[in-house]
């Protein structure tokens, strides 16, 4: 018998016939496995490719905190420890959260279109672009979110500056960590920097929160930066 644990909270899964709501896409259906916390993932989301999962989850979620959205996505088994999916993950978490904040305050925002555009733009960033071009794709994800949100182009003024600032500030902080790369740390930083730009320059009041310390992914990362990373610290588990 396989011992199955919940990918969201780590508690043991049990078989069930009860109704479950998929934590990713929100689909309500008869569940097969569910954890004591009620976490359920539908079959379609279990087998989804990372970018499809990011798109579906971000379109569906009503969460206003980009940190929570990013963390939920990072816990999915299709999201590798390292990988290009982190680029879109950063952008879409920010756009989904920003869209939900706007919608909640009665403003219009085409979240689906924004998410699709962000994913398309970030396809250009290959694996290891941090080392090979000096531009980390997660940082570019923060810039892409700002650019998509503001409809910035190369002729824009403040919007272009905000997008550039999101990337440059993210890159500066990622560079300060040193190497080897950690896509989780880069994504944490880029989401937080992006959220700050949304708050300060775009007037979107995203919640202020942080990723859990110690980082949930330390055990899986044999190349962990350890003491050099602010998320290695031992405040408390998340």
């Amino acid at each position: 018998m396989l011992k199955l644990t919940c990918v969201i909270c780590g508690r043991e899964l049990s078989e069930t016939n009860a109704q479950g709501i998929c934590v990713y896409c929100g689909k309500k259906e008869k569940a097969d496995y569910i954890c004591p916390e009620g976490h359920y993932i539908c079959e379609e989301c279990r087998t989804a490719q990372p970018l499809d999962l990011i798109k579906k989850t971000c379109e569906n979620t009503t969460e206003r905190d980009p940190v929570k959205i990013a963390l939920l996505l990072m816990k999915h088994p299709s999201v590798n420890l390292f990988g290009i999916e982190h680029h879109a993950l950063v952008a879409c978490s920010l756009l989904a959260a920003a869209g939900n904040v706007l919608t909640a305050s009665g403003k219009e925002f085409n979240k689906r279109s924004a998410i699709e555009r962000a994913i398309k733009r970030l396809e250009k960033f290959g694996y290891g672009s941090c080392g090979s071009t000096g531009v980390c794709g997660a940082a570019a994800g923060a810039g892409t979110a700002v650019s998509v949100f503001t409809n910035a182009t190369y002729t824009s003024d403040a919007e272009r500056s905000a997008a550039l600032r999101a990337v440059s500030e993210s890159l500066g902080r990622i560079a300060s960590l040193g190497g080897p790369r950690c896509c989780k740390a880069s994504a944490f930083i880029s989401v937080l920097v992006g959220a700050e730009i949304f708050r300060q320059h775009l007037g979107v009041n995203l919640p202020r929160s942080d990723f859990p310390k110690p980082c949930l992914f330390i055990k899986r990362n044999r190349e962990c930066l350890r003491e050099r990373c602010p998320y290695y610290g031992a405040e408390k588990g998340g």
Partner: protein, 342 residues
Amino acid sequence: MRLLELNLEDDALALAVDETTLRSRYAGIAPDTLHVYRGHGSVFFSGELEDWANVSALKELGLKALRVNSVENKAVYSDPGTINFAITGPEELFKKGGPEYKPVLSEYQAIFEGVGEGLKELGLETRADPKGVYSETGKLSFGFPYWLTENFLLFRGCIFIDTKLEIASRVMITREKLTSVAQETGGGIEPETAKAAIMRGFERRLGVKLNPGSLLEKEKALMAKLHRRKYTTPEWNERGKEPHFSMLGEKLVEVYVANPPTSKCRELISLVREVVSRSQETKFLVWLRGAGEDQNPGEIYSPGMTYVSKAGMLPAVVVNGKVMFAREIPRKEDLEKAILSD
């Protein structure tokens, strides 16, 4: 640490022993091991042979070229004047001492410093770095490091004691000047004496006690399989294509499924389990997506598993490292053919 001195008459068999010690240690049935042996006139290499060895000289001299797994490419000549060693264990074993820890490089340095300790006992002062051991005039020890899942090391090394340097220089393509203990000290040191000194050097530098031992019965079977299916084959030695099986040599059937498994995944698991139950000496592994390699202790992803997990192809069935079925449940007769045939 177990010490193996098997006095095998065949370099390919010695290489099979080396890999056996790594696999059995990783599978948890054997201790850390040092295998020490003298060469029989071969060239050990990694990478493209023609980049690192003079192939026409090898042919003229009738020397065998034997490929080894290594993260560094090179070719090294080994004859009865050469002491070869293979040391296997977890990375912690090699992290002892040293002023500043540098991942990977410090482990190699510690091993070569062990060699240097032994040579010092023979009256030869040397300098060790992560690439080898050097006297004032040249290089006399070389290594082939190989990592299993990033934290288990098989480090094969060659030490030129009284190696025929004219042959070594002819067959090895290297910018480094080669030397030997005999050349440096004026001769008179028997390889067996040197071997004992080097073993003591390892004991001191790595802080281990070497206990003479032998291969377990399971290891002997694995060694024979590796010798027959890998180290004596042109597929491996000429083309670098290696056979795949479980860590201890059984036929390997891997199923890659969603986490938690979908209804389709569960159906596939039970179908494969039923067919495997009729197969002799077969190891059946279920890998849950995203749960890492720790979920099946003592085993690692086969190349086929690595492929399907990166591509997100699930569910999938991988037999001896080869992807046989992906995304759909195969017909039972097709599955039987894939699993039950040799």
